[in-house]
């Protein structure tokens, strides 16, 4: 249970998350851009927020490499799974 | 009762049976090697008093050999199979002049829609017959398959053709019958309690017979 690393500023991350959420809302309902652009930007913001939670709140940024690997292994699998499903409908 | 594959009733049959035999030979060899090996080892290396097993940490060379040979065989088999697969089910495999027949599957019957004398589906002279599939020999047939309810599967063993019929999808499949005669069309995907009797008769006619049948059927004296 060592905490060798410097503790991140949790309040700052909270501010980040709040601002990004506000940005998402503005983007989705106020910004006059095409739907595809909205889609891309919204997904980008969502992944950004998720990464903040994972890296700082769940401390992945500070964990041992083998635990980090364990945590990310399912992600590519999940993506492959979703892509395989989609490929069926694009032909 | 035959102990072998059924009559070759379509142009696919030769290719598929050929592949089947090729696999039979490959797996036959593997089978003999393994089973004979097992029997030999069982007899040769059975425990006898005072004997001790041979102490070894294995052989890398042996491992490489018995990995490489199956791997090469499988890849070769995959390439050959794929060649035929593309011819049979490939997206561009359906011959452009194929004769269209509509097949609508529902619990538990086959509704076969014929293009009528004009040879086109979706026109006024189309007509539908239940549980009877008539096709001319020697001419590619393209089936337009649709389902009313659940997944069914179109299967005529002599044609070596099978295609699932999936609700919500429009699926095409093609074949060319070669031997005139009467066969059976079965549903080969469990589709409910009547699955076992979801069956239709298949008549492969000579082209002349087929034209004659089409004329009669189109005039309404068709079927039963």
């Amino acid at each position: 249970m060592e905490t060798a690393h410097k503790r991140p500023n949790y309040i700052l991350i909270w501010v980040y998350l709040a601002v990004l959420t506000a940005a998402e809302l503005g983007l989705a309902f106020e910004l006059p851009i095409s739907r595809n652009w909205k889609l891309i930007l919204l997904l980008f913001l969502a992944v950004w927020k998720a990464a903040l939670v994972g890296l700082f709140f769940m401390h992945l940024k500070f964990e041992r490499w083998n635990l980090r690997i364990m945590a990310v292994i399912p992600l590519p699998l999940a993506v492959i799974f979703i892509l395989a499903g989609m490929s069926e409908h694009i032909w | 009762m035959s102990w072998w594959l059924p009559l070759k009733g379509s142009t696919f049959a030769g290719e598929i049976d050929g592949l089947f035999i090729a696999i039979l030979v490959i797996t036959g060899i593997a089978f003999v090697i393994v089973e004979a090996g097992l029997i030999w080892f069982v007899v040769r290396y059975r425990a006898r008093p005072g004997r001790k097993a041979f102490y070894t940490h294995g052989s890398t060379r042996a491992e490489v050999i018995w990995t490489a040979i199956p791997a090469v065989t499988m890849v070769a088999l995959g390439l050959v199979s794929n060649h035929y697969w593309v011819q049979i089910k490939g997206r561009n495999s359906i011959p452009p002049n194929a004769y269209p027949i509509g097949i609508h599957a529902k619990q538990f019957e086959w509704q076969v829609t014929y293009p009528g004398p004009d040879g086109k589906l979706g026109t006024a002279d189309d007509f539908t017959v239940r549980n009877q599939l008539h096709v001319p020999a020697g001419r590619p047939i393209v089936l337009a398959l649709s389902s009313e309810d659940v997944i069914h599967s179109f299967f005529v063993p002599q044609f070596r053709v099978r295609q699932d019929v999936v609700p919500g999808m429009d699926i095409k499949a093609w074949f060319q019958a070669t031997v005139p005669g009467t066969y059976e069309l079965g549903c080969s995907q469990l589709c409910g309690l009547g699955h076992y009797r979801m069956r239709a008769q298949v008549f492969v006619h000579t082209p002349e017979e087929y034209d004659a049948w089409m004329k009669r059927a189109a005039q309404g004296e068709a079927s039963e």
């Binding site: 249970m1 991350i13 989705a28 998720a50 939670v53 041992r64 292994i73 999940a78 979703i82 989609m86 | -």
Partner: protein, 225 residues
């Protein structure tokens, strides 16, 4: 030392240096569990994407059926509760159980409020005619469908995926609130967490942040896109 004591030693704090990952059992177990949770939500989200891609027509535009404002507030609430959770963790790391209890209680309240608001949202939606099978006949939403404001062809899928995804997320939040309350009452209040031993807080925290993370994704793809 009897073997029973040995068994306990291996599994409870102060966690001897184990021969594996150098991560104590409960934390490792939680990460493995989260791996399975990732796959579970991937299945739900994947299904949603497949169905939406292959849908027979347009999806309902965001903001018509669902009340974005109240959910945006809920999203913010969940983010806050994630911060309070991590504050509780930091507090006990610093050896301050009182502060830890305060932040943990705040987290529990945040989570419970989230669930409450979600239940309110569901009741509201169902009253308006939005149900898991689509749109209830004769309801307010059915009129919108009739007018063409909402696409008739895809409302069934919309209802199916919306209720399944948010419902399972809500279920996870509820489980989190229950386990945190349990830990609060049986461990935090009696003062069993110390600067040396706070595995329960760290582990439940991992779960809680994961649930927050999933919501971040769900909020975007279900409500905003």
């Amino acid at each position: 030392m009897t073997h029973a004591a040995a068994t306990v030693d291996q599994m409870r704090p102060p966690y001897p240096a184990e021969r594996g990952l150098d991560v104590y059992n409960t934390k490792l177990g939680m990460w493995v569990f989260l791996a399975s949770e990732v796959m579970f939500f991937a299945a739900l989200i994947g299904t949603y994407i497949i169905l939406r891609f292959g849908a027979p027509g347009e999806w309902a535009r965001p903001g018509i059926v669902l009340n974005i404002k109240i959910t945006a507030f809920n999203t913010f609430l969940l983010i806050c509760s994630s911060v309070s959770m991590v504050k509780a963790y930091a507090a006990i790391q610093d050896g301050d159980p009182k502060k830890m209890r305060f932040w943990l209680l705040l987290t529990i309240l945040g989570g419970a409020t989230f669930v409450g608001i979600q239940i309110y949202e569901y009741i509201h939606l169902i009253e308006h005619g939005f149900v898991p099978s689509g749109v209830r006949e004769g309801s307010e939403l059915a009129e919108l469908v009739a007018k063409g404001t909402l696409p008739a062809a895809t409302m069934g899928l919309y209802g199916s995926t919306f209720f399944t995804m948010t419902g399972f997320h809500g279920f996870h939040v509820t489980c989190g609130v229950i386990s945190m309350t349990y830990l609060y009452l049986t461990k935090a209040l009696p003062g069993k967490y110390t600067k040396q031993s706070y595995g329960g807080i760290e582990t439940v925290g991992l779960y809680w942040h994961f649930v927050d993370l999933v919501w971040i994704i769900l909020f975007t793809i279900v409500y905003l896109i």
